[in-house]
Amino acid sequence: MNPPEVPAVIFVGQPNSGKSTLFNSIAGHKAETSNFPGTSIKHTHSRVNIGGRLLDVVDLPGTYSLCTSDPAEQVVLTHLFSERPDLIVNVIDASTLSRGLELTLELVELGYPMVVALNMMDVAERKGIQVDPAKIERLLGAPVVATIAAHGRGVKELLERAFDVLDKGQSLRSPRFSDDVEEKVAEVERLLPPGFPIVSNPRFTAIKLIETAGHACGDFLGEVEPGLRATVDGVRRAIEERRGAPAYEVISAERHHQAMKLAEETSRVLHGKRMTWDKKVDAVLMHPVLGYLILAAVFLAFFFIIFKVGNPLETLLIGPFNSLKAALAARLGSGLLFSLAEGLIQGVGGGVAIVLPYFLPLLFLMAVLEDLGYLARAGFLLDAFMHRIGLHGKSVSPFILGFGCNVPAIVSTRILESQRDRVLTSILIPFIPCSARTTIVLALVAFYLGPLWAMGFYAVNILIVAVVGWVISRFLKEPSPGLILEIPSLKAPRISSVLRKTWLQVYSFVRFAWPILIAGSLVLSLLNYFRADRWINDVLAPLIVKGLGLPHDLGVTLVFGFLRKELSLIMMLQALGVDYQNLMTVITREQIVVFTVFISFFIPCLSTFVILWKEIGKKWAFVSAGMSIAVALALSWVVRLVL
């Protein structure tokens, strides 16, 4: 067999095995890594050149097993079964060896060429676990390489062994199940009709038929013929009668015991050297009282840091833009040219000096929390509260991600098992103040009214999420299946990974948001120059002036707010024709609060709307938009009454 032109190599591993980190160190800097179960939800492709040889590498979401109903994990099955890869890189967390091996054994059954990366050897060592890769290699027949992906250790050897397998092939040794089970598997294997869509080999296909029929991953095996279906059903009943447990459980338990035996034979636990410090840290982080205090402190610190970093940066950066504008005003007079120049400066200056100072620290801190593994712990702590709004702790991570940007947060709801939970969580996420809205809140409310006002804004905002969640969950009665969430071991965030993640998001902000910001600002300048903005303002006047009590000129900003929220802020200054520092001369404190509240809630931004449509359907996207408008109106009205 000739090796294919560019071999496809896929990375398969359980969540938190360090798979994405390893992938990153091979594929450059494309996939995002983090320490929360199921964060790489979309798969990442990359073509790499290693020592003159090309490889197509694909990072897939983490999966616990090859029988799964979790939509994020099903991506893995589709890839494995329908796009036959040339090589699998199976990544195992050496510190939780026996569980990792369960997936490995399933992959050995699958029988594609494979190399195993025994990752996180340093964590295992700290735990006092000594693993012998060579021995696992002898028992499985696949190369096993010890790696520490975070430090790039072992990566070179892993690649060498991978090329070896690609060139020479390999023969895997799949351990047998107990005789009675193996006999039944063979029975199904024998009766597979000719032309049946075999995945990889007949034994694997037979095992999966027994294990999964009637279950999601059976779909990949095609419509089962009636004759075969009867055989499979008969075999399942026979296993169940003999073992007193459903067939899927028997096979899963067989593999579980194989894995435990394999782990026992190939690793030693040196007692007395167990990693106690991080157990102690965890005991505090998830303590019934201290845990919540720390959680509250983390969030307070989070916003204070962003404000403390962003505020002086903003003042520092905005100066030059203002003097530039003044200089231009003196030279260009008040013609069309100056209008355009002013629009350009407002757009660029807004992006650089107002948005970035808050955006940057927020993304950085978010990445730190993610990599640390704190999101799963927050999920544990907040589970009880989430039950009040009809959800559970697994939705906490998408919510927290929503503080960064709603769009990836909505995509990450795929980690939730039930459709109902996904819909409810996705609908609530647009109410979470994303970084763009945080920018507005910090730049307007915190800057002009003080940080305590901003805090109050957040408290009210979270209350609104809770109330809306409570209301919607009255309509979605179906019970939620309950929390099953892995708590990964704490990891010291690596600065390179955090910076990379921050950079990725800033890059996409600069690339996608800046052009819109600048174009929007220019368009507004032109509208202004030709006095066309009056028309829009007149149309919106009943809402803006009568409804909200805001200056007539602010009507156009709403239109731009639908494109991107932070645009409203810059447009606001542009529309009112003042500098950021002189804002208070044309608008009152009350109006600032009303404006912020209304802009924050009145509609999900365009990208959020689109992703809602894509992920949970048109109906819910419109429900979400409708609710946003209702909440924004009601809340602005309340604010006017109170202030």
Binding site: Y64, S65, S95, G100, E249, F380, A384, G393, P481, G482
Partner: protein, 80 residues
């Protein structure tokens, strides 16, 4: 007894996983099977979840009370 009534910090053997197929499959995929030895590491307040550690693989999961109720355990007498 169920995990809910089990004592903290002592080894427990899983006697049975009750509950629906999807919950059982999920637990098994995460490495929690009948006959495994686990330890209860903590409980959140306000009827929050339980922290359960598998002693063999040293993995920890958080289980909501509804799920924990379906996990039947018995104490293990440690070999002295």
């Amino acid at each position: 007894m169920t995990l809910l009534d089990a004592p903290h910090g002592t080894p427990l053997r899983i006697v049975d996983l009750a509950g629906g197929e999807s919950v059982r499959r999920r637990l098994m995929a995460m490495g929690f099977h009948k006959d495994d030895v686990v330890e209860l590491d903590g409980k959140a307040i306000f009827r929050g979840p339980l922290l359960v550690r598998n002693c063999t693989s040293d993995t920890t999961i958080a289980l909501g009370r509804g799920v924990a109720q379906k996990v039947l355990v018995e104490p293990v007498h440690e070999p002295s």
